[in-house]
């Protein structure tokens, strides 16, 4: 006994740090890495609707899904979604943050108003805009004096969803940029102003470089979010069209995956589409990182 104790103690000392990691890694493996690997492997097999492996399929699932016009349309829509919602909502959020940067007697009130959309869930936002864009009783048509079926017309459905998404994102981008702007050192700003830097020059030479870590963070987060977006499509157009909107115009990569893998049971398509979606998201995030790096090193 006497001899065993130090050994046990030593053993415990050795395993102790790993013990603290067990819950985290159990969950990480179960709900991130394992499903990811499983999905990657299964995407190369033909599986039936009970998810039994039938045969090796090579790239056939990928070829089929990439050959599906609906999926290509979903990729296109998702890309349009990313290149519109991400920059526009960051620019608006940045503009609002510049306005609200200086603390005033009432600034905490308008800060709250600017950031409020961050606390509003996609489903509530969707319901409000569903009513606002309703062709007969919605306020948008009443205000504009038109009778457009915003969410059912293939011409306007995607644009409407993009508009809603931008509105929903602004609060989030605003609040992060506001805290970045307020974190800037006043001395640097003052000396730049003394050197005659004003307006656009001050913004592009001093302010933007100083908040670029926050911009990069928001860019990455917004892109990752936009690449996997589907909530507005699922809530606003899915119940009406039982697919991604009028003529598939609001279908996104994720709503396509939802349609194949959850609403339907075409797992071959769903798994391959998931991998394509992941790879595209990773590429977009890496591109934004490279872009940001180059911009930072210029200064």
């Amino acid at each position: 006994m006497e001899k065993k104790k130090p050994f046990m103690k030593k053993l415990f000392q050795w395993v102790e740090p790993y013990l603290y990691l067990i819950p985290a890694f159990l969950l990480l493996i179960m709900f991130t890495y394992l499903p990811f690997v499983k999905n990657a492997i299964l995407s190369f097999f033909t599986i039936d609707k009970y998810r039994n492996i039938k045969s090796f399929a090579g790239a056939a699932n990928y070829l089929r899904v990439l050959g599906d016009e609906k999926f290509r349309q979903a990729i296109g829509n998702t890309m349009i979604f990313v290149i519109t919602t991400v920059p526009i909502s960051i620019v608006i959020g940045f503009g609002l943050a510049l306005l609200a940067r200086r603390r005033t007697g009432t600034s905490s009130i308008y800060e709250a108003l600017y950031s409020m959309s961050m606390a509003m869930s996609v489903s509530v936002v969707a319901m409000i805009f569903q009513l606002a864009f309703n062709p007969s009783m919605g306020i948008v048509n009443k205000l504009l004096g038109v009778s457009i079926s915003w969410l059912r017309d293939p011409e306007t459905a995607l644009k409407t969803i993009i508009f809603i998404q931008i509105w929903a994102n602004v609060g989030y981008n605003f609040i992060f940029l506001l805290s970045a702007l307020r974190g800037m050192s006043e001395d640097v700003l003052e000396s730049a102003k003394l050197d005659g830097a004003t307006g656009i020059r001050l913004l592009s030479r001093i302010i933007i470089p100083m908040v670029s870590p926050t911009l990069l963070f928001l860019l990455m987060k917004d892109i990752a979010y936009a690449m996997t977006t589907c909530s507005f499509t699922l809530i606003l157009t899915y119940p009406v069209f039982h697919s991604g909107g009028p003529n598939g115009t609001t279908e996104t990569i994720m709503s396509y995956i939802y349609g194949k893998g959850i609403a339907g049971s075409n797992y071959n398509a769903a798994f391959a589409a998931t991998m394509v979606g992941f790879i595209l998201a990773a590429i977009m995030m890496m591109l934004s990182m490279i872009l940001e790096k180059r911009k930072v090193s210029y200064d």
């Binding site: 890495y33 709250a112 108003l113 869930s121 319901m127």
Partner: protein, 275 residues
């Protein structure tokens, strides 16, 4: 003159804020309108009578809104607590110990951040179904138990903590776990609060996952339930009722957000950007 300009500036900022929040004000206004007023083709910004509460009464009488909100609360509260426990234990290990494989393990945590959780919903749905967790609270929460981001943020905070403090505690006869539980966690309440609040608001607001893993009405979260009320033609409730429901379920998250607004940002930023 300068003061006047300041007031004008503030007024302008305020006006812009009101314009930005018009959709919210619109929802509130509609929620106090009778159906006839909503259906009219005339433009109406405000209810013509003050204090029309039928829509709210209908929400409470005909939907199980309190049950839905309770479900949302349970899911958001418990998963945020578990997430903090799981993340802080891992962060404690990464910040206060030296061991073999630490860097690789930490890299795995970072790597998980580039796999968007939504991409994995189909597989995670199967896992949850195989574990028999469909329509259970655990099933609704389990994917929110882990966040690589939270581990990262907490590790950053713990790192700024000197190890000599740990040594002193150990000399005093504390075990490592006691140090974590009695000293480290209590002295990191600010970061824990921020992680908790951002996680709470985030989980309260999620839509896709609770939609997938719940089938019965009794297990719906507020976010899923509200989308099942339809505002379009043929709705059995009418737009006023739907907006009343929307306003009701917005109240908790907006309150939490307004009260803790500064902390939400501070917490995410401290690890994400400055680190």
């Amino acid at each position: 003159m300068k003061k006047m300009k300041g007031i004008g500036y503030q007024f302008g900022c305020m006006l812009l804020g009101v314009v930005l929040m018009l959709p919210l004000l619109y929802a509130i206004s509609i929620s106090f309108m009778p159906q006839e007023e909503i259906l009219t083709t005339r433009l109406k910004f405000f209810p013509s009578t003050f204090g029309y509460l039928e829509n709210y009464k209908t929400v409470f009488a005909r939907t199980r809104v309190l049950r839905f909100m309770w479900n949302s609360f349970i899911v958001a509260f418990v998963s945020s607590c578990v997430r903090i426990l799981v993340a802080s234990l891992a962060a404690f290990s990464f910040a206060f110990f030296e061991y073999r494989g630490k860097n690789i393990l930490f890299l795995l945590v970072i790597g998980s951040m580039i796999i968007p959780a939504d991409v994995l919903v189909v597989q995670n749905y199967f896992t949850t179904a195989e574990l028999g967790l469909i329509d259970t609270y655990i099933g609704m929460m389990v994917v929110f138990f882990i966040s690589g981001m939270n581990i990262f943020v907490m590790r950053q905070n713990f790192m700024s903590y000197s190890r000599s403090l740990q040594d002193a505690a150990l000399v005093d006869g504390c075990s490592n776990f006691q140090f974590y539980w009695r000293i480290l966690m209590p002295s990191n309440v600010p970061v824990i609060t921020t992680v908790f609040i951002s996680s709470f608001v985030g989980t309260w607001n999620t839509y896709l996952w609770p939609l997938l893993v719940t089938n019965t009405d009794a297990m719906r979260t507020a976010q899923v339930a509200v989308t099942m009320l339809n505002v379009n033609e043929g709705s059995s409730f009418g737009a006023g009722v739907v907006m009343a429901a929307a306003v009701i379920i917005l109240i908790p998250s907006i309150l939490v957000f307004l009260i803790f607004q500064k902390k939400v940002v501070g917490g995410v930023m401290s690890g994400a950007v400055k680190g």
